[in-house]
Amino acid sequence: MMPHRWWLRGAPAERLAVLRIIVGLYGLIYLLIRTPHLLSYALDEIPRFQPVGIVTLAETPTLPWVYRVLVVITLILAGAFLLGYRHRFLAPVYAGMLLWVLTYTNSWGKILHTDNLLVLHVGILALTRSADVLSFDAQQARAKRDLPSHYGWPIKLMAAVCALVYLLAGIAKIRNSGFALAEGETLRNYIAFVNVRKIELGSAHSPIGVALLAFPSLFQGLGWFSLVLELGAPAAVLSHRLGKWWSWSVWGFHFGVLLLMAIGFVYQLTMVAFAPFFHVEKLLDWGPIARRLPQNLQRTPETAQTDESE
């Protein structure tokens, strides 16, 4: 198939909309739970401020009260994004605010990468027609369903961005240390290093990771497993079936990281990060959800058949 045809192959509007709901719900819950943490960065300590990304536009920290207000606004916008309310105007603002707030929390000396994929996914969903159905806008006739070609490429882009994140991680490993990770010793040392660091910084560590340090050969297999997943990520975008297998395998990788290092990549562990690799609109057929959907939104057997054949 020609690349542009593959790229423009359509998808049901419901798939993109369900992705907006899944990512939107995750974003709202995540921000709500993290509100105390986010608000802890309402600081005016200029010496500690080390801006990165878009936060470098300002040379000094934002006034603490202004920052607090912006965090609250981001929370409200997260709700609007989830509901698909005034999506064309408010969703891009939410994406921008989310980027700014999360970048601001990374502007105090330590850059964490755990939120990058969430921000990228929200950006794609905010700038595309993810609220044409299953939204407030659709209910109030501010948005309407268009050709399937409008809904396919944003989903492919979300999957491609997800795969790219892992591919870049794999390339960075090869560039910095060749295949050292696959030799096992590096991974074993990392697991020991992370657990010592957690203990010595007064945090919870992984007793399982510590117990497994006694089996050095195990880490060779785990090292190869992670390198293959990272460097093979592009294949997951090209094949739907492979994409599903890859997603569950990467989920397994993150579950392993949680077990061995007590580091939780929540966006990945909840599978939300990998939702673009699945026909998520099928969730609408699930009994408890299907019973609550208005008649005009329920999928007919014909619609379901069409989706299946893609």
């Binding site: 105390p36 802890s40 500690r48 000396g109 964490l112 960075a172 590096t186 020991a192 657990n195 910084l201």
Partner: protein, 110 residues
């Protein structure tokens, strides 16, 4: 994550320790050591402050937070240390695998 090779289990860490009345040293949790929930953010804060001219003032701030914490009522002193570990050997004999270079210390006033 972890893109650099790590052939050596050695590591150096800036950390904040509480010294109990019996001399035992306990690592202080991120909220106490830096007023932040994030472990890695806390680590960076301790490292930066320890190498800044205001290291003593930073130690006093930690001591103030310790004084307000019921679970740490027997902690009498705060120490800021650059500690060296053998990360693998640590889990066999933590004391032998640890070397602490105490750079700043301060009293906990209640």
């Amino acid at each position: 994550m972890f893109s650099h090779g790590r052939p050596d289990p050695g590591m150096v860490l800036a950390q904040a320790l509480g010294v109990r009345s019996n001399g035992e040293k306990v690592p202080l949790a991120p909220m106490i050591s830096s007023g932040n929930r994030e472990v890695l953010q806390s680590m960076m804060t301790i490292h930066r402050e320890l190498h800044s001219p205001r290291a003593s003032a930073f130690c006093a701030e930690i001591a103030e937070r310790v004084a307000g914490e019921e679970d740490l009522r027997d902690v009498e002193q705060v120490e800021l240390s650059m500690s060296t570990f053998d990360a693998v050997a640590y889990f066999e004999d933590a004391e032998a695998a640890t070397e602490r270079d105490i750079r700043v210390s301060c009293e906990v006033r209640r």
